[in-house]
Point group: C2
């Protein structure tokens, strides 16, 4: 059974905050995702959550997601009608009626877009995803580790253009969908990884939508109780504080459909005198302090506002922002050799071994 049985409009603020935490810097403005989901649930009612373990083997699951640079979405809001268009385009191409909607990514707007689609289509939503966090490329899902193909996939834009891809690998799905996304204006809606219940059961990271709600709630309750919201998040995720710092520099550029760059956090309090560098490609990939790599993807690198515990995306980082950087463990399947090949530092172009969230003595 799922941790929580349904998502109601009252859960959305917590869920969006939690999704931004798992978004590890990427995933877009959580406020936009929150507004979209709130509007859908208030007008259409709650969305039923189904745990992967409770899926019928023959369930027909169509995940839906936004692809592109989160930076762009702030200026160009996704149209809520587009989500169903993408799901239906894939369903029609496959000749199947979906029985469940799913998230591919439990991070940022990709946690809330499927809620909107599920509400609009009157379908239950999988309580889980296929990353357990956010990653920037579409082959970076546990489904790839289980040889579940990303295609057939649909891709749609806000102008009414649509495409279907059938590719020889999930990396080729990423390559073709990425260039189409860039041409479509750096943001597109995709429905991909169509799968049966038995496939989702074995490959999904279970319970991540419930986890988003619990994470967001923990921050809210800590603030109400005047306890430390950052510590509350670390406790829920089983992670730890890596660095307390003030943003002194952010370099961000939108290239090839990604937000890439780095941020420098000058240490505060017990970290005073040490500057930490965060490298990101939509999501935070590497944290380095005084030449020492403190933690890397696939473990989670999470920036929270020191005082409020609010998650901070790479787009919202500003000079002077006081940030608590947490590291937390990823789903264990990412720590296999196959997982590291797919989402480890070398894939992102850094010639270093992965460093676990708790590996370095601070």
């Amino acid at each position: 059974m799922s941790d929580i049985a349904r998502i109601e409009s009252a859960d959305i603020a917590d869920l969006a905050r939690g999704a931004a935490i798992l978004g590890t810097g990427g995933g877009g403005d959580p406020y936009i995702g929150q507004l979209m989901a709130l509007e859908a649930l208030e007008s259409l009612g709650p969305v039923e959550l189904v745990a992967p373990a409770d899926l019928p083997d023959q369930a027909q699951i169509l995940p839906v997601a936004m692809m592109g640079a989160p930076t762009v979405m702030i200026e160009k809001l996704p149209s809520v009608d587009q989500f169903v268009v993408a799901v239906e385009a894939l369903g029609q191409y496959l000749g199947v009626q979906p029985t469940h909607i799913a998230c591919m990514e439990a991070g940022g707007v990709n946690s809330t877009i499927p809620i909107v689609a599920a509400a609009q289509m009157g379908l239950p939503l999988l309580d889980g995803d296929f990353m357990g966090r956010a990653f920037p490329e579409l082959q970076m899902v546990t489904a790839t580790l289980f040889d579940i193909p990303a295609t057939p996939m649909s891709i749609t834009d806000d102008k009414g253009n649509a495409g279907i891809f059938n590719t020889v690998s999930n990396l080729w799905a990423e390559r073709l969908a990425r260039v189409a996304t860039v041409e479509m204006g750096a943001a597109a809606i995709v429905s991909l990884y169509p799968m049966r219940g038995d496939q989702a059961k074995t490959s999904a990271v279970a319970g991540t939508l419930s986890l988003c709600v619990r994470l967001g709630r923990a921050v809210r309750q800590a603030r109400a109780a005047h306890t430390d919201p950052v510590a509350a998040v670390a406790e829920v995720l089983g992670g730890r504080l890596l660095h307390l710092g003030k943003v002194v520099d952010v370099v961000r550029r939108t290239t090839a459909g990604f937000a890439r760059g780095e941020a420098k956090l000058a240490g505060l309090e017990h970290d005073a005198g040490a500057t930490l560098t965060l490298n990101f490609q939509n999501e935070h990939i590497i944290a380095t302090r005084q030449g020492v790599v403190l933690a890397t993807a696939p473990d989670l690198l999470i920036c929270l506002d020191v005082d409020t515990g609010e998650p901070i995306t790479t787009e919202s980082m500003r000079f002077g922002h006081r940030i608590a950087l947490l590291a937390a463990p990823c789903d264990s399947r990412w720590q296999t050799p196959e997982g590291i090949a797919l989402v480890g530092p070398r894939y992102f172009g850094y010639d270093i071994d992965p460093v676990r969230w708790n590996q370095v003595s601070l």
Copy 2:
């Protein structure tokens, strides 16, 4: 009735030469197109040609073409099996059985690829195309002037990747298919502009495959009779000689899926002392001599070897090549305001009015 009733293997050398003439610099190496079509016709027998006027109104026509930079095709030969894959992918998506194959472009390999597909599928081929020459972008067809949509279209590559696009305009089809083509390795096979017989009847440029055969034959016969093959081509097309020159410079680069550049032809004989510049984007767009624009797209600018009358593509132009540059009239529909907007000099980025093939006194 079509000018010639069928294409046989004995016609292919003439047809490929004629197609390279209409290719106006683009369209790829005619020898490659010739080999592919020869092999198909020798093993599978002749392909029936059908004049647009003879099409049943309910005929289901699926055109097929190669998209990309012709430069690339010289190093990466298209696989003949890919053509049928593209046509069948579109037919399956549409749920129709094609009754006829067609060329979108009567130029270079896009005249011979549909012959291969027609032979392999045992279908008749339209004696016509939708440009009456070659143009570099997929919206640049008479079908666009008749509001016939380019999509649904299929796109396939040599690795086994495939896509379907549904776009809001033919220009959007070009944009999305172009970036996919570039990612696929700068060459892809597309099946597009699916149309009925009545649509093809009104929009096609009739007789252009027969014209290719007649053009190629005229060159061959002139050579055999020791008469001037260049004059023979000019006569068949109703064009004229613009410039006789020797290639002294060629700048060519493959960018955004196109071969772009310019060639300089130092004048010979009565053109001695005057250098002509040809600007091309796959095809020749503008011919300028001593600051005077002599002719522009949409009229045809054709480079032939001075002595043999063999067409010369932009890829095969070399220093020292002695070239006769012909200009010839395009299909009259390109000279309407809508046609000029689609394929005139301004679309290609030159801020000049179009100049007709016979407009300037030489």
